[in-house]
Every structure is written in C-alpha cells, then in structure tokens.
Symmetry: C2
Subunit: 254 residues, 2 copies
C-alpha cells in the first residue's frame, strides 16, 4: 500500500470534503429561506441598476467577485467566479496551492448553468412568494448559495483526478475515443447516489428544525423541505458534478 | 387589547427574529471552523495588501461593503457596515422601510467593538492554529460571521423600541437622568439569559454534528464546542445587545 504524501488528495479526503460541503449548501439554503423570493432582485425587466442594465443580483455578484478577485480568491483552484470576464488581478502575494489538477481544468466552468438552475428552478422551490424589499440582503444570501453549489460541483475536477489516478487504465480508452457516455457510465454509482440523497435529506431535517429547550419536535416548522434538498442533489448537484468530471477526463490526456 | 398593524413589531416578533438569528450566527461560525485561524489574513504585520496598508480582511470587507452599499444594503435599518466612512451611495431605487426606530438610532454602531472581539477573542477559540493559504475564502467566511453578529447585536435597537413602546413609564425617569446603570438593570433578565445560553449550546450541538445515515452519534466530532457558543452569548452577544439597547434608550426622548 502506498503511503499518502501530506496534502495529497485521496478518495477518502475527497469524499470527506464532499460530505462537509453538503452542510455548507444546506446552511446557505436554509438562510435564504428567511426572505421571500424577491423576484425584483434578479428579474431585469422589473428593476435594473442605474448605470448599467444588470439586475441587482448580477450587479452585486459582479462587484463582489471583483473585490474577491483582488484578494486572490480565484487563484484557488477550488473557486470559480460567476462572471470571470474582466476580473481584476490579485493584489495579495500568491499562495503556492498544491498542483493537483491537469492544467486543462482551468478552462472548465459550469457556473452559467448553476446560475440558471438556481434562479429559475431552485429558488422558487425554497422561498415563499413575495417581496419584502430586502433585495441587497437576499442577494448576498443568493451569492452564498451559488458559491456553495459552485464549489461542490466544480469539486468534480478533484473527484475525477483522484479516480483517474487510482485506476487510469479504466478511463483511458473512453478518453481516447472522447466517449462522453462511456465516461458518464464509469462515473455513475447508483447506490452511492441513493445514500447521498438520503443523507442530505436527513441533514436538511436536522439543520432546519426549530430548536427549543423542551423536546417538542415540530416537523411542520422545518425551514426547508428535505425532499427538495434531496431533489436538488438528484437533479442538479450530482449530474452537474458528473458533467464536470466528464469534461475534466475528456481533457485529462491532452 | 390592541390589534397589531401588519408589519408592526411586537415583543413576539422581535423575540422570534432573535431566535432565528441564533441559527444564522451558529451556521456561520460552523462554516468558519472549516479553515484554520489563518492569522496572516488579519494581522497587518504579517501581510498587507499592496496599494494600501490594510490587512487582507480589512481590505476585503471594505471592498465588499462598497459593493453592498451600491446595492442599497445599508438603507435597511437592520444592517450596519463595519467601515461606514466614505461608502458609495445606493444605485438602486429606495425601498420604503417601515419607520420603527427613533432617528437617533442611525448614530449607534458598535461594529468596531464586534470586530475587535471577533478577531482577538472569538476566532482563536473556534479555529485550529495554522495557515492553509485560503485567506480570501476564510475572510469571506469571517465577514459572514461578523455580519450575523452585527445584525443580532444591533437588533437591540428594535428590542429597546418595542420594550419602550410597551411600557414607556418604566424607562422615562432613567432616560431623563441619563442613568445607564439603571437602564441596564431594567433590561437584564437573568432567567431569560440562562435560557438563551442553553438554547444556543443545544443548537451548536445539533447543527455541528456529523450526520451519517446510521444513527451513531459521535460527540467527539462536533464542529464547534457548544460551550464556546454559550460563552459567546454570555460574554459578548447579550452584553453588547444590551449596550445597544441602553444607547438607544438614552436617545429615545431626544
């Protein structure tokens, strides 16, 4: 058995990170449910920021990502901006991140799909209708959700790298023939996916409960529906992660 | 009995908001524990951002708050910037927030104390020593904690207003004589505070647990020590909230 170098990623550390990121995603979604949907913040036809034609959310995310970029956030291969064009360069000393990924990884960014899914499909499922005027605050909360989802889904690059390193022969022929379907099949484990869906539902139930000092547990008062979190993983998080894995593997032998 | 107008704040709605904000604070603290303390991000003597002499965290918070200000975040009387000087004006249409507070409320901002307590006392308690280079990401996580604490503590303005409206006579003589100690005494309820401390510890235990599909509950694996969250409330959150309440009441009859 090989001894893992310190800092080396293994199937075990990758799995632990994915599980920990479930908490981050669920916390951020629960926080977003504090506000109504606030359509005005992201529907350009309802409000747009003066000086540009962006919706409030687009404007806020672009401005915030510019601030993050100056602080070097996107030097980290785990972080992906939603609006990568024209970001300012980092003003802080570069950190020497361990080189784990193939350089082609840098070209993979599915954030535009995540953005679309989040605003058009997920947000209406987790929020109540209405408009409380808290656009800036709910947009900040949207960005936290988007970042958590983006980090989890793009972590597929590391998942793919570790799987490839573990058994390169298994993937080589599908990569050489650029066979997406074959790769997708090799990356799909239904029993694992079922477990993930069950675990995130359980987390949503535990983290979204109303906690009081007496032990009355009121299921009606859950802040988020566990079935929606499970569906989020089934329909969007796991498929998009596998898409990132496939895109990465297709370039892995370049 | 008076019927509450819609949108009117009552002791009940204020209490519900404070309880809900406990979740926000605990979620954000749990998230921050993912990274080591990363002293370099907030110690100016270790790193400073080129072009200015700010620490990375100061720089990031200033830039991010500027973005938020343009989106109108600080028009909301529940939100308080950490660096209020020279913030840009809002570019979005003003929202007509209900006028609940006395205008003097706008002059009360204890964020510099919150900043000091957070970095010098709380952060070393909840993080492990070390430096993983994830400065930008851990700074974003710091800001989430700071904002959650700031919102809760400044919510004291609403607490004080509702308590005053409920029984103005109770506070008038102490306000007229500008007697801080008397006001602090009127605002202190030890049994309530004990309940809050117990509840936040329980929440920290529930939200910080490692969730797995089998029912093995491993207490050693808690992400944050419930006793620290309880202490945070006892030593900082509740005293600072009461400080805000006192400051507000002192100006309430201006």
């Amino acid at each position: 058995m090989e001894v893992a170098e310190s800092n080396e990623m293994t199937l075990e550390t990758v799995r632990d990170s994915l599980i920990r990121q479930e908490d981050t995603i669920i916390f951020s979604l629960i926080e977003r449910t504090k506000y109504p949907i606030n359509v005005g913040a992201y529907d350009k036809t309802k409000t747009a920021v003066s000086e540009c034609s962006d919706s409030l959310v687009e404007f806020m995310v672009k401005e915030t990502e510019a601030a993050y970029a100056k602080c070097g956030r996107y030097e980290n291969p785990e972080e992906h901006p939603f609006f990568p064009d024209g970001l300012p360069t980092s003003l802080v000393p570069a950190f020497n991140y361990p080189k784990i990924l193939h350089p082609a990884a840098a070209s993979i960014n599915v954030n535009s799909t995540i953005w679309e899914v989040y605003f058009s499909q997920l947000l209406p499922l987790i929020t109540v209708p209405g408009d409380d005027g808290n656009y800036a605050t709910s947009a900040v909360s949207d960005l936290a959700c988007l970042q958590a989802l983006s980090r989890r889904i793009h972590y597929g690059k590391f998942v793919a790298e570790v799987k490839f390193k573990d058994a390169p022969k298994k993937y080589e022929s599908a990569i050489c023939s650029q066979d997406r379907d074959a790769l997708m099949k090799l990356l799909t484990f239904e029993t694992v996916e079922e477990r993930v869906k069950k675990r995130v539902a359980k987390k949503a139930m535990l983290f979204g409960q109303e906690v009081s000092l007496d032990d009355n547990y009121d299921e009606k008062k859950l802040k988020i529906d566990p079935a929606i979190v499970s569906r989020l993983y089934e329909e969007w998080v796991m498929p998009l992660t596998k898409l990132v894995e496939v895109e990465y593997l297709l370039r892995r032998l370049d």
